[in-house]
């Protein structure tokens, strides 16, 4: 975030000469030996940062602010950058800047960390007796609580699922809950929401035999899900080949759609990789 702010405040309001904001990334500093600069990124002959280290616009330092096209592809080398921090992390270590993963909820002894629980709950619930939804004392309604960290559009098809299921699907949900001994909770308006499919709790925070605690966790929360390359990807790409350029033209940016095989999951109520999760709601006549 700090790095983002540095670049967002890259150019201070200035008069004639280009004046940099006090929060602009410093120039003239020697690149430490521990830092490896990516190919094409250069320093001056004494190994110090210069404008051209990051910027591709020629004689940038001699230009007036109004003359600089900050939208230009080469404003930052290798651009355009949709995620500006990706540019920064070419040189800087990403790890110290990562946000806390609040799904890592158990300490080394397997006990829930109260501080983590309190991100979502006003009061840490009793682990022995998992509360009902209205007793869970969530800080925000369940349909909004994930959005503090996650995007509203975290993955394809997410928004399309955030709707009220029809009666047939509701029946399927109830049957699946019974069959698998799980919960597939809807939000307060009866809509499918993040926690319908995803368990927010690390495995064993809630008794794994309890419907709210039963989940698919092939890997640790830290490792996250695993995707492996698939021979189907080339077939998948060929399938989208004709339609993607049209979409890219419309959106004005490249779109990458690929098929990677989901091989390990975590924080899921049921496995999606074998279709069990989908089948909990969707059934077909033939």
């Amino acid at each position: 975030m700090r790095l983002l702010m540095l670049f967002s405040l890259l150019l201070a309001t200035s008069g004639h000469a280009l004046e940099l904001s006090s929060r602009h990334h410093p120039v003239g500093v020697v690149v430490p030996e521990s830092m490896t600069l990516p190919d094409g990124i250069r320093t001056d002959d004494k190994g110090r940062l210069i404008c051209a280290t990051c910027h591709g616009i020629e004689d940038l330092e001699d230009k007036r602010r109004e003359e600089i096209d900050v939208e230009a592809e080469d404003f930052l080398h290798g651009g355009p950058w949709r995620k500006l921090d990706a540019f920064c992390f070419q040189c800087h270590d990403e790890k110290p800047y990562q946000r806390l993963n609040i799904h890592l909820q158990l300490d080394e002894k397997g006990a829930p960390m109260e501080e983590t629980c309190n991100h979502c709950h006003r009061k840490m619930p009793d682990r022995e007796h998992p509360p009902e939804r209205d007793e869970a004392e969530l800080r925000l309604p369940v349909e909004r609580i994930c959005l503090g960290c996650h995007l509203k559009t975290p993955h394809l098809n997410a928004l399309a699922h955030s709707r009220k299921p029809d009666e047939k699907i509701l029946e399927n949900i109830r049957a699946a809950e019974k069959e698998h001994g799980i919960i597939l909770p809807l939000d307060s308006k009866g809509h499918v929401t993040c926690v319908t499919c995803h368990s927010p709790h690390e495995k064993s925070v809630i008794d794994p035999q309890h419907p709210a605690g039963r989940q698919t966790a092939d890997r640790s929360v830290e490792e996250g899900p695993e995707y492996l390359p698939s021979r189907w990807d080339s077939i998948y790409q060929a399938d989208k080949k004709e339609r993607l350029p049209e979409l890219e033209k419309k959106l004005g940016r490249p779109v990458l759609l690929q098929y990677r095989r989901l091989t390990a999951e975590v924080l899921m109520r049921l496995p999606a990789r074998d279709g069990s999760l989908c089948r909990a709601c969707h059934s077909f006549d033939d």
């Binding site: 098809n157 997410a158 989208k240 999606a272 074998d274 279709g275 077909f284």
Partner: protein, 199 residues
């Protein structure tokens, strides 16, 4: 009182009318079916085969992570990602033929997928195209029985291609459309009878 009853009745009727006519919003998957009514995809029938191939629901209905924040853009990306077309289906049904190859299984109306030149009498006119590049035909007609079924027809005990006495009457048809004969008979078949007899 009578007026009041009429007003209540009319209101109820209009409410029922409104409720009855209100178009129900379709699910996104139902809308897709409307877009491609010519395609038939039986989900249950694909379960086992797709599991064996290592692909399941997520191949056609991907939930890939995205950093796109514009809901409309994500909806458009999902639409493209969600609509498998030729390459995915044909990978099994045409390329490696690990799935049934009958076109009608998925395309109930072949007229919707065949080339426009097939619309009119193409069975009779296909010869030159087939001679020029047979592979074009084979891209759809995977089973050679489709060709052989006509080109290698022979009389059998159960049925005859030509009616009784056709040997006597065939001359007229042969002069009108010799190509029709040659779709099954090579020239030597004719010469067996029509050869010049040495004096």
């Amino acid at each position: 009182m009578k007026r009041f009853s009429s007003i209540v009745l009319l209101s109820l009727l209009s409410l029922m009318g409104v409720a009855g006519n209100a178009p129900e919003e379709k699910h996104w998957w139902e809308k897709r079916a409307d877009q491609r009514p010519q395609l038939y995809f039986p989900h249950n029938a694909h379960d086992q085969a797709m599991e064996e191939s290592g692909v399941l629901c997520l191949a056609c209905h991907p939930f890939s992570k995205t950093d796109e924040t514009d809901p409309e853009a994500v909806a458009e990306m999902s639409a493209v990602a969600n609509e498998p077309l030729e390459a995915i289906c044909h990978s099994c049904h045409v390329e490696d033929r690990s799935a049934p190859t009958e076109c009608r299984l998925c395309h109930p109306d072949p007229k919707k997928i065949w080339p426009r030149d097939h619309d009119l009498d193409y069975e009779r006119l296909h010869g030159p195209d087939a001679l020029e590049d047979e592979r074009v035909c084979n891209s759809c007609h995977l089973d050679l029985n489709y060709c052989v079924g006509c080109h290698f027809r022979r009389d059998a005990a159960s049925h005859r291609e030509h009616g009784l006495g056709y040997r006597l009457s065939h001359g007229l048809e042969a002069r009108m459309d010799p190509q029709q004969c040659s779709s099954c008979h090579n020239p030597s078949y004719c010469f067996d009878c029509h050869r010049e007899i040495d004096p």
